[in-house]
């Protein structure tokens, strides 16, 4: 269900008028989405759904009771208000309670052309048909997922805050497997609307990565020079960015905590080529103009040429420490460089070209060691050229250490991978040495 700002405000105003609490916050989100899956060249499942969610937070004293419902029915909203107030009255006082914010000044929201409710499955099926045809021409089986939709998010408080954002979203991912089922490739993209996604380009890319009949080279575990494609880079940076919380660092329980107390804010922890920022007005990955608690999203530079420049912090922690509150990022962009993947390959004596990672998970929050595996397009490079597919490997690598020894970056591009905050990510390909692969996998 895609509600307009006026429709949302009308609902929020009705709820706020009815509220008997000291203060009240209404959060709403919703949208329409259609997904279509195909596997081994044939349709499997699909789904179309419209959704809406309203959360009523009633604040009584320094206590907050919260009720969420998926209905806009007046009786249901009235019941939610009453119940949230009842919950609040029963709870203990929260010494970190912060009263809802009043009116805020937000950046101009991104505009999305042609936002459609009830997204049609036909263009998704046509894209799948294109991908299947292109896969057939290259003698590979294809599987994939196409998605298109739109959504909104809004917040209103009894103190006068009102924030509203709407967005379009679309994605296509394709996994191709060769006829012998002995090799695979992947490609994917996301954008604000499905017509902007080039299904043929994605299908060809996945198919050409998969279209190898020679057995993959078996490499021994060890430390290798790697060229990580943007999707892989985005995934590793996500682990780091979402650990850049000021409170955890200042409490001594994050990778940014310093021995003896204090944090590493302001220190150069990473290679000078690394700059990571978020900007709701980014033309490639536009984001919402408001975040947690209705705080405005502003352009933030989290890592500035290798220096830890900004940490996100809650309103409570900001007040306690005398700093500015900054909401966690919705999405992020890693600044790129000017070395192409081809140039990176030519400069590599012995290494691996990695398309993407799979099943990554944090192993050690102190060092940000992340484990995972390569998947769907791993290639062995020797003396400046790709010589063969390389069997997948498990890695254990510290994200901090990796971004501290970057040899080169390529052009940044929007990747399929979605940020923890639900927003888009832009990342470049990255060349680095001494990447730790710890065991072999037979998984294709």
């Amino acid at each position: 269900m895609l509600l307009s700002a006026d429709e949302v405000k009308a609902i929020a105003d009705r709820v706020l008028v009815r509220s008997g609490a000291d203060a009240c916050t209404i959060s709403m989100r919703g949208g329409e989405e259609t997904t279509l899956r195909f596997a081994r060249n044939s349709a499997t499942t699909n789904a179309s759904i419209g959704s809406v969610q309203v959360t009523v937070d009633s604040h009584i004293g320094a206590r907050t009771g919260s009720v969420t419902l998926t209905s806009l029915d007046e009786a249901a909203l009235a019941e939610a208000i009453a119940r949230s107030e009842d919950i609040a009255r029963r709870l203990p006082v929260n010494p970190e309670y912060m009263a809802p914010l009043g009116p805020q000044s937000y950046e101009a929201a991104a505009t999305y052309e042609g936002l459609r409710t009830a997204a049609d499955a036909t263009p998704l099926a046509e894209a799948a048909a294109t991908v299947i045809r292109l896969g057939g021409e290259r003698n590979v089986d294809v599987s994939g997922n196409a998605m298109a939709g739109c959504g909104f998010a809004a917040m209103a408080t009894s103190a006068g805050l009102f924030a509203y954002d709407r967005h379009g979203k679309a994605a296509l991912t394709v996994t191709a497997r060769n006829a012998a089922d002995s090799w695979s490739g992947w490609a994917g993209a996301s954008d604000a609307s499905f017509p902007r996604i080039d299904a043929a380009r994605i299908g060809i890319r996945a198919a050409e990565k998969a279209h190898h009949d020679v057995p993959p080279v078996d490499l021994e575990p060890g430390r290798y020079t790697v060229i990580l494609e943007p999707a892989a880079v985005a995934e590793l940076m996500s682990f780091m960015l979402w650990a850049m919380d000021a409170r955890s660092a200042e409490e001594g329980r994050s990778f940014l905590a310093r021995k003896g107390g204090g944090t590493k804010l302001g220190e150069r922890l990473f290679d000078a080529k690394i700059t990571v920022s978020s900007d709701p007005a980014d033309p490639v990955i536009p984001g919402p103009v408001f975040g947690r608690d209705g705080l405005p999203h502003r352009r933030s530079i989290w890592i500035d040429h290798g220096i830890v420049r900004t940490l996100f912090r809650s309103r409570y922690w900001a007040a306690r420490t005398g700093e500015t509150p900054i909401p966690p990022p919705h999405g992020f962009a890693i600044a790129g460089g000017n070395v192409s993947i081809d140039e990176m390959i030519k400069s590599t004596k012995r290494g691996l070209l990695v398309t993407r990672f799979w099943y990554t998970n944090l192993v050690d929050p102190q060092t940000l060691v992340v484990t995972g595996l390569t998947r769907d397009g791993n290639f062995f490079i020797e003396n400046g050229r790709i010589v063969a597919p390389a069997r997948n490997l498990r890695f254990n690598e510290s994200a901090v250490a990796l971004f501290g020894r970057v040899a080169a970056l390529g052009s940044t591009e929007r990747v399929w991978w979605e940020a923890n905050g639900g927003g888009g990510i832009c990342a470049p390909p990255l060349l680095a040495e001494e990447f730790t692969f710890s065991s072999k996998s037979s998984g294709i």
Partner: protein
């Protein structure tokens, strides 16, 4: 709130309209899910949210193609829109339906199943729950923790399944998940260590939460977190492992549970979660593990998160128990409707689940458990057979490849085993392995007295991702010659 009569009327309408529009088959799920989540940090309650979600999901089969549409506003207008949209979706995919979806015949049921429940957690006042969470944290802080976070998560599903074949099934179940994590910080060295609770999620009520005695565990966990800070870092290498069921349940989930899902084996999940190293021709042939290894699937285990009478395809499964692995040999795949025929089998064995009524039902795990040793065998007896090894307790980090072969698991607590006896605590441990090698290296198994029912609320699968709760029973087991790495140093 929809009455049962109203739900039945909407289901009848959806199915009638779908058939009128040409659907060869239709089923619908209508229901409500209640969720309550409380989070406490140190001495304060940070969050208390109650959520209610109503939904209707209509699935139709039109000339061998699925079409699905859903709404959170189950009324007659929404039903009509869902029918139109589901039919449109099925028509849209017809041109790319190279492989026909064919549904087997299954028995029709008119039934009701309500999970037996002790104390309904939704009847317990928020202040009582808040008080319990703060008491857990207070116990940890009192024992010397620097930080403690605790939470309760409760869900209740009430759902009607109706199909064009005539099934009308009402089911209801409740689940509870209490948890905490304590953190100890050494400001001088800059190190910090955490220890998470071992109590799993269960299909149970508030009485289960009380029985977990998290206050006592929080104090113990604090002591153990402090010990971790002082513990010796493990030397990487080859070790014999005794794995506690509080850790092993997750290994079972990832290596056995997921690798034997038929849709994955057939390649239907290739784009996201992957495929499997297990092939259809491995049925009754593949030596998955040692003869000690029997893995059973069930829908009836008391407290099992996947215990239910009928799956979300309407297949009766309350009495269904089947071996996935029997004495080390692969015996069965987990199947949902429309899959069995692909490998020459007759019908589904009741493994379909939709996380919400508004989700397309896909194949998901039933409870999947390691059968205990029929002969007496205690934990100490497992230790006794180890000269150089590690004992691993509790779940930590986890990762496995896209065909369920190469895995890596960490844990909460690690102890040296030396010459048959439990020794000092260690830290920075993860064990890596290859699924078949690992399970074939199992040479010790605890008996029924050591059984523990673990599980997770958060098994993810499908696009868009659906979360499924599932339980795994396990006993402690011994595995020879596993690779252990040091997670702090990345030593290979």
């Amino acid at each position: 709130m929809l009455s049962r009569t109203e739900q039945l009327d909407l289901a009848d309408l959806a199915i009638r309209l779908a058939r009128q529009m040409g659907a060869d088959y239709a089923d619908v799920r209508i229901g409500r899910t209640w969720t309550e989540y409380l989070l406490a940090r140190e001495h304060r309650l940070e969050e208390c949210n109650q959520q209610s979600e109503l939904g209707l999901g209509l699935r139709i089969l039109l000339k061998h193609s699925w079409g699905f549409a859903a709404s959170q506003r189950p009324d007659r207008d929404a039903v009509s829109r869902c029918v139109d949209r589901a039919i449109d979706n099925a028509r849209a995919v017809c041109p790319i339906q190279a492989r026909a979806i064919v549904l087997e015949e299954i028995p029709v049921h008119e039934a009701e199943w309500i999970m037996p429940l002790g104390i309904d957690p939704f009847s317990v006042s928020a202040d009582i729950k808040a008080e319990k969470l703060i008491a857990i944290n207070a116990a940890a802080l009192g024992a010397g923790a620097d930080f403690c976070t605790s939470s309760f998560l409760f869900t209740r599903d009430e759902r009607l399944f109706a199909s064009s074949r005539g099934s009308r099934i009402f089911q209801a179940r409740t689940r509870s998940f209490p948890s905490f994590e304590v953190t100890a910080v050494d400001r001088q060295s800059g190190a910090f260590a955490s220890r998470a609770s071992l109590a799993p999620a269960r299909a149970a009520g508030f009485d289960y939460v009380i029985s977990c005695d998290l206050v006592a565990e929080a104090a113990l966990a604090t002591e153990q977190a402090r010990q971790k800070l002082r513990a010796q870092s493990v030397r990487p290498g080859q070790y014999d492992l005794v794995i506690d069921p509080t850790n092993l349940w997750l290994t079972i989930h990832e290596t056995v549970g997921h690798s034997t899902e038929l849709d994955r084996v057939l390649g239907w999940e290739a784009n996201f979660a992957g495929t499997s190293f297990v092939k259809p021709e491995g049925l009754n042939r593949l030596r998955f593990g040692s003869p000690l290894m029997t893995i059973l699937a069930d829908r009836s285990q008391d407290g099992g998160l996947a215990s239910v009478a009928f799956d979300d395809d309407g297949v009766g499964c309350a009495a269904a128990e089947f071996p996935i692995i029997e004495n080390g040999i692969l015996r069965n795949f987990q199947m949902a409707l429309g899959q069995a025929g692909s490998i020459g089998l007759e019908r589904s064995n009741g493994c379909a689940y939709a996380a919400r009524p508004t989700d397309f039902p896909i194949q998901r795990m039933p409870n999947i458990s390691l059968k205990p040793n029929p002969s007496p065998c205690s934990l100490n007896e497992l230790f006794a057979g180890v000269d150089h090894g590690l004992y691993i307790v509790g779940s930590g980090s986890w990762s496995i490849d896209q065909q369920r072969d190469n895995f890596q698991f960490s844990g909460q607590l690690f102890y040296e085993i030396k010459n048959g006896r439990l020794g000092q605590m260690l830290r920075d441990v993860a064990y890596q392995g290859r699924t078949l090698d690992f399970w074939n290296a199992m040479d010790g198994l605890g008996d029924a007295s050591t059984y523990f029912l673990g599980g997770s609320f958060y098994c993810g699968k499908g696009e868009p991702v659906q979360l499924a709760p599932v339980s795994h029973g396990a006993v402690p087991a011994r595995f020879r010659g596993a690779t252990v790495l040091n997670t702090a140093s990345q030593d290979i």
